[in-house]
């Protein structure tokens, strides 16, 4: 007799399935009620993040009016905080689709309660990431020059450039992530349509596209969703690989390395999982989702963070080893300088936050403690932001020729404003999502309720 057969109830609790739901209507009630009465604290958060968005908009407006010099970007570090933010947000975007698509393919039961919110996180993070190249351009009004169409001399963007790869990869990722998220939500929108009246019913009915939920609907939906998941999984891996090639295809010391693609993908998943914890723990508390977002679900995320943390730590070690073993002098110097030079304090914070802090998650007491999980999530996010800065600014600051050495000293007030604005916009959009759309998939939740739990 297997463990599952001998301990069915224990297995259900351990597997992260929803608890305390005794009818399918309970699932509707629990998710939909959060959409109508979010409470005063919610509106306070919306106001604060809205204020942050205004700060970011003013800072960007000021930069557009005065020029890119308003940011502390100058030779030799031309890619500084804006590109750090870009790579950071693309990284955050990774875990949403990863959790949703890969766990769907593997039929992981703990996916149900976290997939929708994680997918939303992905979409908002990619949208914000996509803003940073525009911000960094300075003259944002000529952004259309990067689109793939020929100019008056019949010259097209160079499809051999990793920057053009990046535009294609990120825009594909945003489109696919949005469609994956929206398609998964159509049956839920129909459920809300049927539970509401008047204008609400009409709006959700419009978004539900006339979904009815007959066997044909489910079969065609299931086929499309399965292929979405199967297509989104390699896309997740490809997008951050392409982002890493923005650097790896350059010849700067510290960038020109074949380890960059897997290293960036692991780092992206690491930061994305940390953001999932940072978003879900308050969501669980505010919406009283303790029976759906069980400790076990959070523990599974924490276990995955251990894995990604170890991969990231291994990548750091390999980078340093290869810089010595390769006999490439500028490369060796670059890595020594990272540990001991101007950015060394960022480097050591990065190592501690990304590699050593997640080791605490080996202990079950830490993995099951919400405050500890939340704190580790925040620390990993800080570590990953610093990692992006160390890689991007560090390599430009110390290239081959000592004549052109220099450092990016600190972000200007405009860069701080835009940084605050980007985080505020992310949380602002997430709060709106949590108010107007179901944060947990209602139909998947119903599917996950064991039949023996249903009464009546």
């Amino acid at each position: 007799m297997t463990f599952v057969e001998s301990n069915p109830r224990t297995y259900l609790m351990e597997s992260g399935q929803p608890q305390g739901l005794t009818s399918y209507a309970d699932a509707d009630m629990q998710i939909i009620r959060t959409m109508w009465h979010p409470g005063t604290f919610y509106w306070f958060c919306v106001a604060m993040t809205g204020l942050g968005v205004a700060v970011g908009a003013i800072a960007w407006g000021y930069q557009i009016a005065t020029g890119i010099g308003a940011a502390n970007v100058m030779h030799p570090v031309m890619w500084a905080s804006y590109l750090t933010n870009f790579v950071f947000w693309v990284g955050i975007a990774h875990s949403g689709t990863l959790i949703s698509a890969i766990l769907f393919l593997f039929r992981a039961s703990w996916r149900t309660s976290v997939s929708r919110a994680s997918e939303a996180m992905t979409i908002f993070a990619v949208m914000i990431a996509g803003l940073f190249p525009l911000i960094h351009l300075g003259r944002v009004w000529i952004v259309y020059w990067i689109l793939p169409y020929p100019n008056q001399r019949n010259l097209w963007p160079n499809f051999q450039s990793p920057l053009v790869f990046d535009v294609i990869a990120i825009s594909t990722y945003l489109t696919v992530s949005f469609l994956f998220w929206y398609t998964g939500m159509i049956p839920d929108l129909a459920t809300i349509r049927d539970r509401t009246t008047g204008m609400k019913s009409r709006i959700y009915g419009f978004l539900a596209l006339g979904w009815e939920g007959s066997n044909d609907y489910w079969r065609h939906y299931g086929t499309a969703y399965l292929f979405f998941a199967a297509l989104a999984t390699p896309l997740v891996i490809s997008v951050h690989s392409v982002v890493s090639w923005d650097f790896a295809l350059g010849i700067s010391p510290g960038w020109h390395s074949t380890i960059f693609a897997p290293y960036f993908v692991a780092g992206a998943i690491h930061s994305g999982l940390a953001m999932v914890l940072v978003l879900l723990i308050p969501l669980r508390k505010i919406y009283k989702f303790e029976n759906l977002l069980t400790i076990n679900v959070l523990e599974q995320i924490a276990r995955t963070i251990i894995l990604t943390g170890l991969i990231v730590g291994y990548s750091y070690a390999v980078e340093h080893f290869m810089s010595v073993y390769s006999g490439n002098e500028p490369e060796r110097f670059q890595y020594e300088w990272r540990m001991t030079g101007y950015y060394s304090w960022l480097y050591w914070i990065m190592v501690v936050c990304n590699v050593f802090v997640p080791i605490a998650l080996f202990f079950k007491k830490v993995r099951t403690n919400l405050k500890a999980l939340f704190s580790i999530g925040i620390l990993v996010l800080i570590g990953m932001w610093f990692e992006r800065l160390v890689i991007i600014a560090g390599s430009q600051a110390r290239e081959y020729d000592p004549y052109s050495w220099g450092v990016y000293k600190y972000p200007s007030i405009v860069e701080w404003g835009i940084l605050i604005g980007s985080f505020s916009l992310f949380f602002f959009l997430f709060l709106l999502f949590a108010k107007f759309l179901p944060t947990i998939s209602i139909t998947e939740l119903k599917e996950a309720i064991p039949p023996e739990e249903i009464k009546g």
Binding site: T172, P187, R193, L209, E212, N215, H220, F227, P451
Partner: protein
């Protein structure tokens, strides 16, 4: 499943069931009696219902995905090759259209168009978007009830109605 024009003039009997076990049993018994089931409504996707109906797990939507994937690869390669051919910047005698960098646009367009076609296939086969829900649909089917729709002619409606009741339907409706 019958044609739409045929069904438009038919009376339908809709049986409403309270749980999965009941609806799966009813499907099996209706099938055993060779009563053709038009549709089964459920609040969530259910492999039990699919198996009871004898449907394959994948629908024809997979061919849309395949077509989209092939079209995507072709588009990506064409775009990269065509644009390179427009700018004949020949260095060291190398051929102006490189092979390796076409892989990235080809891969990204493969994913993009395959997803577009998958979604398009799902919408097309489900006749979505649509403004009017079908008259057999009951709002409770998206909450906690299951429904079986069987079309009948004037001669067999009563017997199908009785069968639905006999097979455990909590409510049976006749829809003209």
């Amino acid at each position: 499943m019958r044609g739409a024009a045929f069904m438009a003039n038919q009376t339908a009997v809709v049986g409403t069931f309270g749980n999965m076990e009941e609806v799966v049993k009813a499907i099996r018994r209706l099938k055993a009696e060779n009563i053709p089931i038009d549709s089964v409504y459920s609040p969530f996707r259910s492999s039990e219902i699919r198996e009871a109906l004898g449907e394959p797990s994948l629908g024809p939507g997979r061919f849309f995905t395949l077509f989209g994937a092939i079209a995507g690869i072709a588009t990506g390669i064409f775009l990269a090759a065509y644009t390179a051919a427009q700018w004949r910047f020949i260095v060291g005698g190398k051929y102006p259209i490189p092979y390796v960098p076409t892989v990235i646009p080809a891969f990204e367009f493969l994913i993009l168009l395959a997803v577009f076609f998958s979604l398009g296939g799902m919408l097309w086969m489900n006749k979505m978007p649509k403004r009017q829900l079908s008259k057999h649909y009951d709002k409770r089917f998206s909450q906690d009830l299951f429904g079986i729709v069987v079309y009948c002619s004037a001669s067999d409606c009563d017997s199908i109605y009785a069968r639905m009741e006999q097979f455990g339907a909590r409510e049976v409706r006749r829809i003209e």
